[in-house]
């Protein structure tokens, strides 16, 4: 730290944010961190109803997958009368199926598997896309770039669903994480292209050029300047990718192509549809309940992705961050001193 105060300081040290010229107290730092990362987003989220509703829906399903599984017993056949009507008994508020399993319990016990699939698929596809996009964007014009983009274009144009169907038909994955990874295979190229074009435009910005001239190592530039700018795209696309993974996995369970090893909304729909639920009113709840769940979860994700869009909007964020910083003037000075990058 003393180096920064000496006359001959290194430009690299000036850039390095760990070295603070005027160290602030830990409480101040914690407060600023909270304001930047929690309070300002929360203020925007409250203003933007889409993020709020989307987040609430997602939180509801997360609770269902964690607390709900623990509260509601795993359904087995013969738990309750067969094909009971919904909204009549507290033991089975959504009615029961042909095996006498309460529908709400099946819905709840399908949630953890769903989230495992979404998690694995989103991590694989978004991570891979970000990696390919950033590398290609930074190596723009070289052979590496054209190689990566050729692969991306090839994967984009291969029809994804038939490919996944062939792969799942051969390997018969039962673990939800592996199902998610398989579904992530065809979901990355679109995002990779977006990330690449973003990297290309960010690279042209003067501050990145300045960092390059200052001799900052490439890895630091990538981490500090590029990745932080890309996070919004990655988050928004992560939400949309999750929606696609829900659609595809439920679709494959609905078709009966993935093995029926766990509870899944698609499996419920498959059994109900094969049992001609559409023409039998007493079986209809069994078919409709999972459909409503799929709709709600993906609606929540779409809303959240749109809300995130405004959450990451720099101007909107600055306005909300400013209102929380009215009181201290010394803090403003500090942020001017440190906010050189």
């Amino acid at each position: 730290m003393s180096e920064a105060h000496s006359d001959t300081f290194d430009l690299k040290d000036l850039y390095d944010e760990d070295i603070d010229p005027d160290p602030e107290s830990r409480a101040d730092r914690a407060k600023r961190f909270l304001e930047m990362n929690v309070v300002a987003p929360a203020r925007i989220a409250v203003d933007d109803w889409r993020a709020l509703v989307g987040g609430a829906i997602l939180a509801f399903f997360l609770l269902m997958g964690t607390v709900g599984v623990w509260l509601v017993e795993r359904p087995t056949s013969g738990d309750a009368p067969v094909l009971a009507a919904p909204f009549e008994s507290l033991a089975y508020p959504l009615g029961t199926d042909v095996f006498g399993q309460p529908i709400h319990a099946q819905l709840i016990h399908a949630t953890p598997g769903m989230f495992k699939m979404i998690f694995a698929g989103a991590v694989v596809s978004v991570g891979f896309a970000a990696l390919v996009g950033v590398v290609a964007g930074f190596e723009h014009g070289t052979r590496i770039d054209s190689f990566l983009m050729t692969i991306t274009d090839v994967v984009i144009t291969i029809p994804g669903l038939p490919l996944i169907i062939v792969i799942t038909a051969i390997f018969q994955p039962e673990n939800p994480y592996i199902v998610g990874v398989f579904l992530g295979i065809d979901n990355w190229p679109g995002l990779a292209r977006t990330v690449r074009s973003q990297v290309l435009s960010i690279r042209e910005e003067s501050y990145v050029e300045a960092s390059e001239i200052m001799g900052i190592p490439l890895s630091s530039i990538l981490r500090r300047d590029i990745l932080s700018q890309l996070m919004p795209y990655v988050m928004i696309n992560g939400a949309l990718t999750s929606r696609r993974i829900i659609f595809e996995s439920v679709g494959l369970y609905f078709l009966g192509i993935l093995p029926f090893t766990t509870f899944n909304w698609g499996v419920m729909m498959n059994l109900a549809y094969e049992g001609n639920a559409l023409t039998r009113p007493d079986m209809l709840p069994w078919m409709v309940a999972p459909m409503v769940c799929i709709f709600l979860l993906s609606f929540g994700l779409v809303l959240l992705s749109q809300g995130l869009d405004s959450l990451f909007n720099v101007r909107l964020r600055a306005r909300h961050a400013k209102t929380s910083k009215k009181k201290g003037t010394s803090k403003n000075n500090q942020s001017q001193a440190t906010g050189g990058d």
């Binding site: 090839v154 144009t157 291969i158 029809p159 169907i165 051969i170 709709f295 779409v302």
Partner: protein
Amino acid sequence: MTPKYLLKRLGQAILTFLVTMTVSFLLYQAMPGGPTEAMRSVILSQSGGSVDIDRLNRMIQLYTNVNPDQPMHVQYFNYASDVILRQDLGTSFFKNEKVTTLIMQRIPWSMFISVYALALGYSLSIFLGVMTAYREKSRFDSTVSSLIIGLNSIPYYIVGVVLIYFLAIQNNYFPTGGRIGSGITAGYNPEFMLSLVKHAALPAISMGALATSGALAMRGNAIRVLGEDYIRVAQLRGLRETRIATQYLGHNSILPMYTQFMIGIAGVFSSAVIVEEVFAYPGMGLLMFEAVKTQDYPLLMGTLIVFTAISLTAIFIADLTYTLIDPRISVGEE
């Protein structure tokens, strides 16, 4: 339309086809226990009795064009030359017919609903996108935008199930499945045509629902274009509203959407697998579904390769039209 651009796109399409073919070959090799083990039980259940290993290998060769006896590169070379030079995708285990014959019978039906789904979905999303942008922040805009967000949250196969329930089961407007009504003679007679359209309508609409996902992006583009100076100049020149909306706004906001639309083609074609099963519509998707259910590997790989070939052709055709609408291409740069 520069030949260089088209050559590049053609090369890319061929490369994609080769990759898919290689993937299908590799998947044969990657089957749990290798191709011999994986297919032994399937073939045995077909022919009955026990088969010695040489005969089994010969049968695998006969059905799949992959001979597990030979070294890997020879297998691959034989497989590739069968697919490319002889258009031979092997023989179906279950139907004991050439895979290409089986697929050829089904292609027209799938193309029929897919092309209508694409036309319906894309024209709807362009139209709605431009209209909502033109009346940004009006009640029309907020209603239509919310509807589109809602529609994008429903998987297309659920759209299909809902359509069947309300339009085919509750009200008898449309048939619940199949491709033509029974007892109708094929030919250019009105009953046949009507039955054809009625059976294809619901599958096409539910696949088209998938293609409307571009509407919001189209709206965003159009709003950005609305802020451009040339739109203002056009308004100041006193041009007619319709001309501004179509030639200035529509044309310029479609351009950035074009790649997204082209990528969407592959998505809409592949959605046939699920939609055709929901509607029991005997196209290529249903064929693929049956192949999965019966572990008919040659047929499964064959449908994957043909699905890719069709998507690539469609995307290439779309590319040809892109050179027509984007003036920059004809100048010679990308």
